[in-house]
Amino acid sequence: MKKIIKSSLAVALSVCMAAAMTACGGSSGASSSESAPAESGAATESAGAGATIKIGGSGPLTGPAAVYGQAVKNAAEIAVEEVNARGGLQFELNMQDDAHDPEKAVTAYGVLKDWGMQASLATVTSAPGAAVSPSYAEDKIFAITPSGSSTSVIYADPDNLSGAFGNVFQMCFTDPNQGTASADYIAAHPELGSKIGIIYKNDDNYSKGIFDTFMAEAAAKGLNVVYSEGTFDDSNAQDFTVQLGKAQEAGADILFLPIYYDPASLILTQANGMGYKPTFFGVDGMDGILGLEGFDTSLADGVYLLTPFSADATDELTVSFVSKYKQKFGEVPNQFAADAYDCVYAIAQACEAAGVTADMSSEEICTKLVEQFTTMTFSGLTGSEMKWNESGEVTKSPKAVVIKDGVYVGVED
């Protein structure tokens, strides 16, 4: 008897499921025809359907990496609002949650495709990006990631840097680029220190990627790396006294930290407690350390970092963006936000230059945008005169800044 009940239940449920699937299945082929969004009414009220160019994107809006996803979402919203306020081409943004999980990113991509996405901000983080990039290439939808910095986001064969997808671009530096740039900078400025210690996170794509290229470039430039075994991972990201002690023992007078600002703040605090005072050198993940709650910013004095964006810059664009962001979301934007803001503007600029209209199919838009991106130059928050090559890598110069009295100060070369 139990089985019969269960079977009827099961049948009823499977019918429900099938109904749900077909109910949402109305918008297949949305890439060619501009059908109304069939589901998840995210931000569909603005203007009439069909009059806007639909920009999709996914990022970790929940979970441990949510800070980055939220920053990108917020900044992209501001940018879309501003672009729409100018008149002319109208855009619509749909950011989906992927919880920094490749599996969920692929699902989010499905949601966006059903929604009728015509161009995309790809993903915020690298591993999900690598999972969806082939789909963007296959479906010919233009994508530019604000912060997916790994080479695997834009290359099908990242080890040999070949097989670029062609329609997936990056707004941020690739990881190798940052490692190389850091090593070059340290080599060119021997006054910072000559014995290099490194602490990095060995279960993190980003940190590991920069570390690898830094080591390669350091070897090429003949830099003296005295301590490079200082690794940590998610489970022991609270206590760095062992690594710091070893670095001190090895006599490192410059400590390279290719990590995010959260563990970096602990390293600075604990090094200070130990009385160990090397020159600290970070990369763009270090950006945000001054905004960290409960962190004594005086400890960050003298920290060098290479970053494409500093919220304390005084140019008009940055000031206006930072004040808007603060007003709307109550916090200082980080470089992820700035990258996302630039992405939207870059897409808008390319669309305008190529004469893209909202009724074009995503393939048409893709062809036109790729053509634009490989030829145009773009100036935004994270750099001026940016250019992209055929593989989708951006060329812009990282700015070296040093923290003095709680603000970034540009370093003159």
């Binding site: 699937m21 077909t22 499905g110 990039s133 080890d159 794509n205």
Partner: protein
């Protein structure tokens, strides 16, 4: 023939029906989805979910054999999945040149993944399953963590000279044109996506065949006897650790096969994916579906994977609602009074027999 007769006589009609129902659900669902896909009325979201659903179903069926039928708690099913996944991805990458066709390569990868995961299960099972008590839970929990760390630090690459394996990256150099199959924390990238839904559906059928045949065979009855009363089972001469080992290794191998299919469905695979949370997630599918109930496992897995996606329109609240729904289901299915009401509502003839979960 003789064996089959004994199954019938022992299992009776009821078991046969439950068995038939599982297969019927899988086949009907498969046909329905295929028709929807052919007519183009299945949207991209569901299309992208099909293969992961089959993977999790297979892993959950395997886990149910271990947790439900054999009664040993396993908290490392994701670990076995990751063994299968990375093995499958590596095998597929190595054979890419010699077997360009996707399906045969996928099948070889799945078989390799299943064998390797089964082997790991065997090695773990040797010391643990001879013990009494919940040691398997502790050891599989540790296994899940260890295997994650191992893959996090493993570098496997292939070039013209052959296969290179290392746990230290600094001395890892490939010839030009070589390909990294597994790159430490970055995992496997640039994997060719060769998994498809048909293979997944077939894998579920095979998993069900294996599990049901095991459950209703002599060994299966021995497994359940060992679960229900160890001392009594021992007294009639059932080798306890051997029967438990059979269930555990089968469970691990199924997880490995599921993992291989999963790994080859994505172009990138990171070791972090198969963490403790994933193990617990699979355990939730099993518990919700009912211990020892394969049909229930299939249904609960499908629902729990689809639910958060169907709730996407609720934006920020979806994970909250997902959790609430999960708790409500757990409470309701464990409430005898509610279940009896529900049952009598469904089938008028039901006499309201108490459910024993």
């Amino acid at each position: 023939m003789k064996e089959k007769k004994s199954i019938l006589s022992f299992g009776g009609d009821k078991k046969q029906r439950g068995r038939f129902l599982s297969f019927a659900i899988v086949i009907i669902a498969y046909i329905a989805v295929e028709i929807l896909m052919k007519t183009g009325s299945l949207n991209s979201l569901f299309t992208s979910l099909l293969v992961p659903i089959t993977c999790y179903v297979v892993a959950a069926i395997g886990l149910n054999l271990n947790v439900g039928v054999s009664g040993e708690l396993n908290l490392g099913q994701a670990g076995f999945m990751s063994v299968g996944a990375f093995c499958g991805v590596c095998v597929s990458g190595m054979l890419a040149a010699s077997i360009p066709a996707g399906i045969p390569r996928l099948i070889i990868a799945i078989i390799c993944g299943a064998i390797l995961a089964g082997l790991f299960g065997f090695v773990i099972g040797i010391p643990v399953l001879t013990l009494q008590g919940d040691y398997l839970a502790i050891v599989t929990l540790a296994f899940g963590q260890i295997i994650k760390s191992i893959f996090m630090n493993a570098y496997i690459g292939m070039d013209s000279e052959g296969l290179h394996v290392s746990f230290v990256q600094s001395n890892f150099k490939l010839q030009p044109g070589g390909k990294m199959l597994l790159n430490g924390p970055m995992g496997a990238t640039g994997t060719q996506k060769i998994a498809n839904f048909t293979v997944g559906a077939v894998l579920i059928i095979i998993a069900l065949l294996i599990v049901y045949n095991l459950m209703f065979s002599r060994s299966g009855r021995a497994i359940m006897a060992a679960r229900d009363n160890r001392i009594a089972a021992e007294s009639v001469g059932i080798p306890i650790s051997k029967t438990k080992m059979l269930a555990f290794v089968t469970s691990a191998a199924l997880a490995g096969a599921a993992g291989a299919l999963y790994g080859l469905n994505y172009s990138t695979l990171v070791p972090n994916k198969f963490d403790f949370n994933t193990s617990i997630l699979i355990l939730v599918y099993v518990v919700l579906g009912g211990l020892g109930n394969m049909t229930g496992t299939i249904i609960s897995t499908v629902i729990l994977i689809l639910l958060p996606e169907l709730l996407r329109s609720l934006q920020d609240y979806r994970m909250l609602i997902y959790a609430v729904v999960l708790i409500v289901i757990m409470l309701v299915t464990n409430n005898e009074w509610l279940m009896t009401k529900w049952k009598s509502l469904f089938a008028g003839k039901a006499k309201g027999g108490a459910s024993n979960g």
